[in-house]
Symmetry: C3
Subunit: 309 residues, 3 copies
């Protein structure tokens, strides 16, 4: 029997994962679905404490980590929305992290500065999970995105996936594009206005792999062939020219009419504003609410794997 | 053997209850008293999570729901005092509720808009509890008020109950008056200044029942005959004429001298400012601190009944 | 067999402790170390709830109490950083405390006013723990300081201990000096600038005991003989003359060079700013991170002892 071992001690960047690591987490998450839905009771992490250091606000990520730890029988302490880079006036992040290490068995960190969670993982002895640092990585979001795709299609290989919206600043689409290079025969479509195209660095990363991608401005050009429509919000604030924003905005709103009779699923990391029309909510295309739920089994799998290691 | 079944799937308004439903909850609460006082350990809701969406501040209601869930062996996640109608800037309440549904087994909602908890209960698959919406309903407060009365007198039927203070804006007195129509031979006395009388709609509701009520301005007219004095605060802000406020204010302050040698109990939903003098605290008339405690067994009964259903 | 009984029902001031009480808590804490590190699971306080009323901000104290209660299998509800002296506008602290009493099995209070926790302990029936009131007492900090010293040296008697920094306003050094009078053959060195010397009242307290103390301005005069260097921060705001502050500041910064080859440990209640140079962090002199961890077994010992009593 082949024993698969999860190789990482911290979850800092999706780039640290190979395909086997990703599949390990997704397979664990499958086993935890019933506990995530509270159909079964779990005591695997009884007596363990998750510490959340959230320097930026993040309701969704924080609440889902908290719920995940509690579903596993563990508990939670935390700081949310500290609002600056330090807890006590003038204390370094290092000292704050050492405090959390003293009270907890695993840390989750969100900070506006790229690299903070890597830095913390180097100075504490408990596992560290990056829950978003600046425009950098948000690896657990990527894992739950992959989990959602696999849950719906049974596989990730051989899919055509459109990422649509703000591809320049959205960290979820960067991480997801990176991760998809580990799978076979993927075709990516990057659908964005000219000003919000996928950054050159990401494209260079992709060029070094076998993945096929195409950049375009109108989702209609590929709507008939894609399997996954991964939607992100276009923020008005990104545009210097408001007229430009108003002109292009409509082209990036997904509604029932656009996707009717297509063979695809619609995903979104949430929260959404109006980039997915509410008339999609009650269609079978809507996978974004299931994707929101999937945060729980996937984050449970990560917590359990790291703490038990 | 007669099996009583609790008929509601959500707790939205006390008007949805019949007498049997109310008594079901009160009877369950009696059984949970020892657990509420932590004389016994309970694991009935182990693995279950309560989600609290509090858009308005409410220390007392939130903490008692949290304590109630934890006494039952369950756990809690929540947002308190979000301060506006949405969690993430621009997200709809519907999407926020769908997020909570994904992480929790039961939701408690407080919002300044009447009807929000009903709306949410229509779009999520977990039970929803209204913890106060606008000037509307606060049904769990009413249940714990009824529980307190029954605990002290052994019954609710045949009692004379004075509601005193701001009867115009106070949602607890509206709900309580509604609920008391389900009991037999109740006499209600509505004691308030002219400007803060019980709203016409509530009186019309009462007129359609057999309940006897009387409106008056001075508690002294009925102090010798009432069994329950239910006190609420008169807020200065309600008066356009400050002199008017100062003139009437004293008539709505309950002190030891007023109630001495009477045969009654004093209740208050709390917090109080000065409408009950502190010299009442150490008398046997004081049932408002017990009433505060009763929030726990009653909310435990509600949570357990809905989650186990 | 001699049965030692812990005599206090509330933890208000370190002055209420005799040596036996202190050693009782320290001995209990030793037994709880493995649970504090989550090497063992504990259910001793299962079903019990700790209530935290924190009117002043205190991340470290609050999180360590919360973690301690959870390590013991109990749970937590609380208010943090209420920011003024009352929870609901106009409600008295007494009424707020009665609410917490109704929901909890033990209360922890921090308030800017000296005497608040004593006052609350007189009106509620659950144990009360003072987590800092004004410039007064912070007894659980003192207990964990003593625990840290004993853990490193095996005893507290016969040690030479320097308290350095702001000795005028720092409540931790006041409580610690008081407590050390209960031990034998202690020598204390109070190292501070002229303006921040140990208050006369504390010195008078010490004069009534057998303890030996000396006041000085420069740590170098005793660095070769002390066993413990207990460092606290000098706040710029304490000085009316900024130049004065800048002139003396450097004399109260501990760095590796100062302590190299000495036979001592460095402690600090944390958070620190720059009064201990980071080059001390990775030396064996650094006991301040262990001291931070020690908060957990010591507060666990206190919670368990009071709740089980």
């Amino acid at each position: 029997m082949l024993i698969i071992i999860f190789k990482l001690d911290n979850i800092i960047s999706i780039k640290d994962f190979d395909r086997e690591d990703i599949e390990y987490i997704l397979d664990e998450a499958v086993k935890l679905e019933d506990i995530a839905k509270s159909k079964e009771i779990c005591e695997d992490l009884k007596g363990k404490i998750l510490g959340c250091m959230f320097f930026e606000p993040s309701t969704r990520t924080r609440l889902s980590f908290e719920a995940s730890m509690k579903r596993l029988g563990g508990d939670y302490i935390g700081l949310s929305n500290v609002g600056n880079s330090s807890v006590s006036k003038g204390e370094t992040i290092a000292d704050t992290a050492k405090m959390f290490e003293a009270y907890c068995d695993v840390l989750v960190i969100r900070n506006e500065l790229e690299g903070v969670s890597k830095f913390v993982s180097d100075i504490v002895d408990v596992p560290v999970i990056n829950a978003g640092d600046g425009a950098g990585q948000h690896p657990t979001q990527t894992l739950l995105d992959l989990y959602t795709i696999r849950k719906e299609y049974g596989h990730i290989d051989n899919l055509k996936i459109a990422l649509i919206g703000d591809l320049k600043y959205g960290r979820t689409v960067h991480s997801l594009a990176n991760a998809l290079t580990l799978f076979n025969n993927i075709e990516l479509y990057f659908v964005s206005p000219e000003d919000l195209k996928m950054p050159k660095e990401i494209l260079h990363d992709l060029d070094r792999t076998n993945i096929i991608y195409r950049e375009l401005e109108n989702i209609k050009d590929v709507i008939d062939i894609v399997d996954v429509l991964y939607v992100t919000r276009i923020q008005k604030e990104r545009f210097t020219d408001l007229e430009e924003y108003l002109k292009i905005k409509g082209a990036y709103i997904i509604d029932k009419n656009l996707i009717n009779n297509k063979n695809l699923i619609v995903m979104h990391p949430l929260p959404r504003i109006d980039e997915i029309n509410e008339d999609v909510d009650n269609t079978p295309y809507n996978k974004y609410f299931i994707q929101a739920f999937n945060a729980v089994p996937v984050r449970m799998a990560i917590l359990k794997t790291l703490v038990k290691k």
